[in-house]
Amino acid sequence: MQSNESIETFEGADKQAHWRRFEEATTRMRKRRNKTLRDLSETELMAFFDQYQSITADLARARSLGAPDSVIDRINRMAVAGHVILYGYSKNKNASSKATWWHAFARAVRQHLWALGLSSILFFGTAVVTYFSVLNNPQLGFDLVPDEFLHFNPAKEDNMHDIPSLSRPIAASSIMSNNIQVSLLAFGMGLTAGIGTAGILIFNGMHLGAIAGWFAVQGNSRSLWGWIMPHGGLELLAISLAGAAGFLLARAIYCPGQVRRRTALKQIGRSALVMEVGVMVMLVFAGLIEGFVSPSAIGYPARMAVLAITLTIWIGYFVMAGRNEFKIVNSE
């Protein structure tokens, strides 16, 4: 009996020491983040893995024996720490990913053109329908057009909103943050199976169409388009793309394919995020133009030129960026 007891004590103490060593090792290693495993020699690595495996075995044993929570919790923490060190920091970044991060947006848009098509149809389609409705039945304008535009009388033909130059930075920044907020909402609302995204697109399209129709009825079309043109191309494209990012998420809910919906969502999440981040960048540019160029006194042709240049640059980017690289990846 006496000898039996002493063995038990010895083994218990040994296990304690083993656990403590492992805890110390993981505490030391996780401070070094990415370098942890690479710093170890082959034997050290094997020893660490052996220790980790015996910890996971202890965890299973402790659970099946019904050890108290405090002990299970302690071994569980050790096992988690070991798991994170062994599997957590091993992402090997390939060299090409650095050079191509700015291609990702264009590639995501090209890959999911259907989403851009769908959101454009909803957005511009609603705008066109509302435009002609208001044109044919101007009474509708009183219901659809926001108050501030209802009795608006443009000051000059080329310069509808004569924003004083001092207020322009404020206008630019608040337009920017407001648009980005809307784009984030359109993106996230994809998770309502696209219903929320569609709602935002339709609502904004109706707004645009109703205002355009109302101004056409009043005979002020030219001044409206003159105002919208410099920034409008970018801004409307960006809103459509934000809707497209939302529809990417919605598609994972409607047609997840061979995987569970949750898995499909996670898989498409990366493309959708890239698209949304790209949209935010576009909206920063659009906001700067809307705050500084659109309210300035430049003439009609200059406004058209700004529209043409910005659209050419962005569409060129979407069509061209990362195209070769994609072919190489495909052919490999």
């Binding site: 402790a62 050890a67 108290p68 322009r168 909402l185």
Partner: protein, 285 residues
């Protein structure tokens, strides 16, 4: 919502993570919002009243120009702080923010690994939908209620869960060493026999859990819990329960008694030392 999730590793070990409740997540968010507000107010004060502002204002020529650009900067920085706070902090500090740290919770990936900037970006940009209609968090709150692992929409796309990482552990478990021996030998805890009856293994575990976490309860609640556990055990212990009327007296009496029972049970299970349990880590990563 479940209390915890088990993740299977490639070695077939199953790691347990205690899920964070709605309450602690809400509190963490509230703390973070206070911090965001404080940062913004400090920034605004600095921008318009600080010594740098005076210098810049003079070099700008007119106060109006400065004011206009200043307000624009303020709008942009406020927006960036509102949306960037969670993204940057969660990305950099592997799933925690000051609010989450205060509540002892952390965002991790579904496979148990720490999150990076990608997960932080997704779960926090989708926050716009979770918070709909603002400022209620109605949509996200509903989804969290219905999801078995308490995910809001952002967590679903990012593939993340929020776990409870630590609770204040002022009293270290004194049973670690005894259990190390038992785990090694394959012994499990046995019921403790007292003159008037047995204390079951489950009851012992409950007592241990209580003693480990007792400081986290409010005093009144702590007294009630200790009393409700100790009262039936006093009856079968064959000892006389000393009369106590004050709250600290009752607490002292019952908790000492429970600790004695636990020590006794551990002594009987294994006679190895009960000291030497190092302080266990209170964070995962």
């Amino acid at each position: 919502m479940k209390d915890s999730v088990f993740l299977s590793t490639p070695e077939h070990a199953s790691l347990e993570f205690e899920l964070a409740g709605l309450g602690s997540r809400f509190m963490a968010h509230a703390i973070d919002l206070v911090i965001i507000a404080a940062v913004l107010i400090a920034f605004w004060l600095f921008l318009f009243l600080g010594p740098l502002a005076v210098m810049v204002r003079e070099s700008f020529g007119s106060a109006e120009t400065f004011g206009s650009y200043g307000i624009a900067l303020m709008i942009m920085i406020s927006f960036a702080v509102l949306w960037g706070y969670y993204f940057l902090l969660e990305g950099y500090y592997q799933g925690t923010t000051p609010g989450k740290k205060a509540m002892g919770i952390r965002v991790i990936r579904e496979d148990g690994l720490p999150i990076g900037f990608y997960e932080a970006a997704v779960r926090n940009f989708v926050r716009a939908a979770d918070g709909f209609p603002p400022p209620t968090y109605f949509l996200g709150g509903m989804v969290m209620h219905l999801d078995p692992t308490g995910k809001r929409l952002g967590d679903m796309v990012a593939g993340t869960i929020v776990i409870r990482e630590s609770f204040p552990r002022t009293i270290e478990s004194r049973t670690g060493a005894a259990w190390a021996a038992r785990v090694e030998k394959g012994h499990s805890r046995k019921p403790l026999s007292l003159p008037g009856g047995n204390v079951t293994v489950k009851q012992m575990d409950l007592i241990e859990q209580y003693l480990n976490r007792r400081t986290t309860f409010p005093l009144e609640r702590r007294k009630d819990l200790a009393q409700s556990m100790a009262a039936p055990l006093w009856k079968i212990s064959g000892r006389d329960m000393p009369e106590e009327n004050s709250l600290p007296g009752i607490l002292q009496r019952d908790e000492t008694f429970l600790q004695q029972l636990l020590d006794q049970a551990n002594e009987e299970g294994s006679r190895s030392g009960t000291s030497q349990t190092p302080k266990s880590e209170s964070t995962f990563f």
